[in-house]
Amino acid sequence: MNAALILVAGIGVCLLIYFVSSRVLQYFHSQNELGVILSLKIFQMAWIMIFTMLIFSSMISAVTTFYLAEDNEILLSSPVQPSEMYLMRYLTTAMNTSWMILVFSLPVFGAYGKIFHAGPLFWPLLVIAVPSVTLIATGIATILTVLVVYYFPARRTKDIVFYLSLCFGIFLYLVFRMIRPEELVNPDNYGQFIDYFSAVSAPAGPWLPAGWAANMISSYLLDGQVDLLLTGLLVTTPFVLFFLGQWLMDHLFVVGYSKSQESFGGHREFRPVRHFHSIRAWIWRKELKYFLRDSSEWSQFFMIAALIVVYLYNFKVLPLDRSPVSVFFVSNVISFANIGLSGFLAASLATRFVYPSISAEQGAYYLLAVSPLSWKQYLWYKYQFYFFPFTLLALVLIVISNYLLQISGPMGWVSVFTGMLLTWTSLGLALGFGMYFADFKSGSKVSTLEPGAILYLFCAIFYQVVLLLSGMPFVSRLVRRTLTEKGAAVSDYLSVCAWGSVVTMVSILLVFWLCNKAVNRRQWG
């Protein structure tokens, strides 16, 4: 059932990507010729960006698949040459890092093919280009990894590459948003983009394999011509890189692997701890220490910070002055929609941080299970731990957005109240789902793509949509009447308050019911 659910959700996401991509491309094409060129430039930039990200993520994955794999001890103690292992590790790395890009790029390619009325060779060319680019990225990444681990310990290499890729991702994200792509087709701005277009009129990245693929597909989309030189380069380069990697593997791998066995961080001495008796304080401390001592956890703060900056920047650059209706009304509508957006963000972050926090106890869960601490207390303390940062996040998103939208009147407190309710309920649901689907036997951290996590996200979003739709008539009437000369009546305020009371009660009951169900399932194994 879980597999079917994921399949349906995956197809749904693909269809959504296809329709959104088609609409965006259609919009570009409807503008003028500049729109057509621009859509192809974005296509080429996307190829190069994905290629760069693939190299980073393949390097991180390669450190694990090549140097930290559990079966290395068995394989390397047997009479197997490292080069014989190379093909298996190379393909595993390629699959691990690129399957999602392969799946979710298909609808985008489909949209380009449809809008550009691509010829019959479009899909065969993609069959060459996409696997070739992913294999080239993996080839470059594995060669770099084997070389870097030869000089540095494997675990440190993994951390360094992870930080670099994170910074690169944040940089791209911020730059892409700050150039305000929605303004590129605004005729008022054409003058300042002329220089830009003349600069980018040359083929994108002629020395990069992603540029070869992008230029090959672009030229076919525009003129129906197949560039045989680029096709040849794409077909042969993966083989060249593979054999080079295999050669390096034979010569450098064993030294690097030996280094990766060295203990990492085990000799650092920490300060003595302050004395706390309360279990609540210790559960909080444990959560915090786990977060701060795991570089893959705390470093995501940077990504969240970038997310918040771009989120708020979107409100700052909203062209409200171009709106045909009252600015006050539009900003109030956006403020109401913003509640849903901030709720979605809270649910997404809860999927990443809160949902897996129960399974993160892993084998040590027995310490809690055999202790006098009940699972209900445990969940409650966890809830309290996450309560403050999530509340702060939701408040920052809603209050600053309202300030940027210059919201005054009832929408201000309605949005704060509803936003808090969505955030707190999403948090409770994340813990409930996390407890219900907890997998303490899993050797690694629970993924956000795990069926329980996806189900949680769907349920949280469904709850948020239902809650907002149920409140829309009352809030809308209150806001509209506030605009009139008479102003809103007491009954308008009362109806919003009554709605608020009902949804608060429903939310509390929902969280209690789910957590209770999860605890009963967990109790006694």
């Binding site: 706390f276 001592r293 040590a364 055999v370 006694w524 194994g525």
Partner: protein, 265 residues
């Protein structure tokens, strides 16, 4: 006569059609070290998981210090310490932080002096100098010793131990044996599950042998010898005889070139 601290009556656990533990009756007294032996898959781990509250029995009762596990699990857990065979710990905490965490889980244990007790155990196990290092850097044996320290510091009335010596060096194994004896003299009941016949024979006051979910034999070494109908045999021989491992005799004969043909295993 010492009082029974841990009692089970008709304790059973089934998984679908398979009965892992069947009508188990146990009485473990204060100050007693009870050895729980059995071949692989006999139901030892399932029994232990029920005793520590990790698994719900299909039927039957568990009472610890007169408190029913089903009615007052928290009360029972307040009195029990559990040392598992595999040392799962919080990898990102230091040894010291881990001990603080455990002491906060059992606020009433050892009259609030658990952490003071821990200092002595860390010294005994040569862990003191590593106490401020992350557990992820500990060896298997160090982890096992840290778990032992964290349970012993609580001065619980009942300690349930699953394979206590796995991963321990000879010195630490000796220390553990002495500590168990000392704890028993102080009145602690120790329920010890092990595959090591030497340890069981050396340490336990009474031994229970479980086969296919049922107690096959239970008593002191002399009582077990009598039940097996043997003389001054070691526990290993008695165990093999009582668990019906007769086929092993043929294997040993084959391995030793039939030189054991007239000898008992």
């Amino acid at each position: 006569m010492s009082q029974s601290l841990l009692t089970t009556r008709n304790l059973s656990k089934s998984f679908a059609d398979f009965t892992a533990v069947n009508e188990l009756d146990l009485d473990i007294n204060q100050g007693e070290i009870f050895g729980f032996l059995g071949p692989n898959g006999a139901g030892k781990t399932t029994t232990i998981k029920m005793l520590v509250g990790l698994l719900k029995p299909t039927s039957g009762n568990i009472a610890i210090g007169g408190m029913d596990m089903a009615l007052d699990p928290v009360g029972c857990k307040q009195r029990t310490g559990y040392i598992p065979d595999r040392p799962f710990l919080y990898e990102k905490l230091t040894g010291d932080e881990y001990l603080h965490f455990i002491s906060s889980l059992y606020p009433e244990a050892a009259g609030g002096k658990a952490l003071e007790n821990a200092v002595g155990y860390l010294d005994l196990f040569d862990l003191a100098k590593w106490r401020h290092h992350l557990i992820e850097g500990y060896s298997h044996g160090m982890r096992q010793k840290l778990i032992m320290s964290s349970v012993l510091m609580l001065n619980q009335e009942l300690i349930i131990v699953d394979e206590p010596m796995v991963g321990l060096d000879p010195k630490s194994a000796r220390v553990v044996k002495e500590l168990f004896r000392q704890k028993a003299r102080e009145g602690t009941a120790i329920f010890l599950s092990t595959h090591s016949m030497e340890i069981a024979e050396e340490l336990c006051d009474r031994i229970g042998i479980i086969v296919e979910g049922q107690i096959r034999a239970m008593g002191t070494m002399d009582e077990l010898r009598a039940e097996a109908g043997s003389g001054n045999e070691h526990l290993e021989d008695i165990f093999l005889q009582l668990t019906g491992a007769f086929e092993l005799l043929d294997v040993i004969r084959a391995l030793r070139g039939s030189s054991l043909s007239d000898k008992k295993v």
